[in-house]
Symmetry: C2
Subunit: 358 residues, 2 copies
């Protein structure tokens, strides 16, 4: 089988020596001379290339025998960056997987086509908001959901800060908001935030939600596929909360397109939220468009998924951002819908502004 090929940016005085350490750390974690010969023959990783680049980190390619991943997402993550994540100077920036390994990954169930079918919107960009703030009552959140659904938004997700707090407990809130959305606009999808456990997933499904928001940084990467399993036909929207340790530095962690695009797509997200340029977070335009590309480009038969840029987007900038991201995108606009005190009208403005380009 073709190997798992990982590309790292390595910041070190001697990148070739460091590359060898990475290859051993991420496969045997035992000096080669101490490993049994059958293990060295079958399962040792190999540094394929080291390209030094003046003024930039070296680009290093490591081939891992694909069997090291054991056909499992969790072990693939351990293989790509497990222990090395603890060290500065090594950043995962690309990966290439054999088709058989991709086929063994959970992957998206709905993808772009399934989400479009769910919300009855075949071609235009999908528009979304987050229900917030925490501290609002279930009734206030249901009223907000009703307003933006009536205003024409396709996806109404809950803010990652909503859980089971006393102001709007999960079991009271979810059926109430689901009912409000259904009455206001039968095409809108409502996605509550869940903790990733089976109880909340089943409750959300049985309450008339259309899918869920999952936080793989807290609930684990397997929580995305578990959500798809327990909530058949539901949309699985990945939220980047608590994953940022990987992306906030340029000298370690994981490139945002690999983490929010490729890895979450392999793990089973139908759409992937990330903080867009033009908002209050620090990803660049180039990084954001790379995430969108990783979400949608051909990947050994895996369905494309929807990039969902958010994090301080505005209605006024939606047409510009739409032009850059293209229509297979979920535009996630939060606070800006509240600015004039009439979220329904703001949602209608957003629909009108983005339809003109459709």
């Amino acid at each position: 089988m073709q190997p798992v090929t990982a590309t790292y940016e390595i910041t070190a005085e001697d990148p070739a020596a460091r590359a060898l350490l990475v290859a051993v750390e991420q496969s045997h974690e035992l000096p080669t001379e101490l490993a049994p010969s059958n293990a060295v023959r079958d399962s040792l990783a190999h540094v394929r290339s080291v390209v030094e680049r003046p003024g930039r980190p070296a680009l290093v390619t490591v081939d891992y025998p694909a069997d090291l991943a054991g056909g499992e997402l969790s072990q693939l993550l351990v293989l790509l960056l497990g222990n090395v994540s603890l060290q500065d100077g090594v950043r995962l920036v690309d990966l290439d997987l054999p088709a058989a390994l991709v086929a063994a990954m959970p992957g998206p169930r709905l993808g772009v086509a399934g989400v479009r079918a769910l919300v009855g919107e075949p071609t235009r960009p999908l528009l979304a908001t987050a229900l917030k703030p925490v501290g609002a009552t279930g009734g206030q959140l249901a009223d907000l959901a009703s307003a933006v659904a009536a205003g024409g938004l396709h996806v109404i997700k809950e803010d990652q800060g909503l859980a089971n707090q006393p102001w709007a407990p999960f079991r009271e809130r979810v059926p109430r908001v689901a009912e409000a959305v259904r009455r206001a606009n039968p095409s809108s999808a409502y996605l509550p935030v869940v903790d990733g456990g089976p109880e909340q997933l089943r409750f959300a499904r049985d309450s008339g939600a259309h899918g869920v928001v999952v936080l793989p940084g807290v609930a684990g990467f397997a929580a995305l596929a578990r959500a798809a399993d327990l909530f058949e036909g539901g949309m699985v929207l990945a939220h980047p909360s608590f994953l940022g340790g990987f992306t906030a530095s340029a000298t370690h962690g994981i490139a945002p397109d690999v983490l929010f695009g490729t890895l979450l797509r392999l793990a089973g997200a139908d759409a992937t939220i990330f903080p867009s340029w033009g908002g209050r977070f620090s990803l660049t335009r180039e990084q954001c468009l790379a995430i969108a590309d990783a979400a949608r480009r051909p990947l050994r038969g895996l369905p494309p998924i929807l990039p969902a840029p958010g994090g301080g987007m505005s209605v006024a900038r939606a047409p510009e951002l739409l032009g850059a991201y293209g229509p297979d995108t979920i535009f996630l606009i939060g606070a800006d819908l509240h600015r004039d005190g009439d979220p329904r009208r703001a949602a209608e403005h957003l629909v009108a502004a983005t339809s003109r380009r459709g």
Copy 2:
């Protein structure tokens, strides 16, 4: 109820302004003037103090109304650093939780006393190794386990790189190694690595293992408590693989003692592995001793847990490290037991070297 108090190091031109942004981002994620007045009254976070320190990041304390955590570990993590993890310049370095919230967390089931009872060692430091490398057969791993158990090690854990690969598939390997350990030394505990799902947990329990190694960075923080639930009486050992994005930088993420000590203890680890100074990773002596302290110091009635320093430890340095860490520690020695080709004798040397101080 007393608030959840988080202390951050903030690297920014205007730390007070940045602190306010953190408080809003981590609670309402909506500008205060746009939030309903009842939410602002009940659930908005407050910056308690900003201490600028010349040449160092500012130290900022934020009080969050404790109800924001909703009595749940997953939401507590979102609250402390969820979205802000995506931004450079903010590092979580301390937290103080009300007793009622700590009581609602999973917490360790065994802790120091339970693990000591499990391996029949009331006072001395506990000695451990990792079975590896991946690529070895189940028979080779069972032989290694047998040798180090006979040599007197208390805990024999699997390397995080072992999963369900073809060389030693999970269902073939785990009963075989469990049997080998039981025959060699009935006091030694064998902990296979699991993916965090219920199937592997139950299989490990039913195969005669004594607990499991869980990777919260991949399997999610809730996987620790799930392991304790499904494997009653089993030891839950947390491994830091894929968590390093949080600790590899000094200007964002989470201080290692908070992550590997406090948060994993709250989440249900009985012992917590981390890369010690003196090995091949980059934590300092001070950081490592702070992890050990966070694992064991009084925390509102939660049992203390065992710090498990590893990552390139040697038999020769064990007495020195023992002196620093103290006896309520699991010393994790991997490759160094293989150096002279006789892991059993190396284990016996380790037992002897550390007993002299006991």
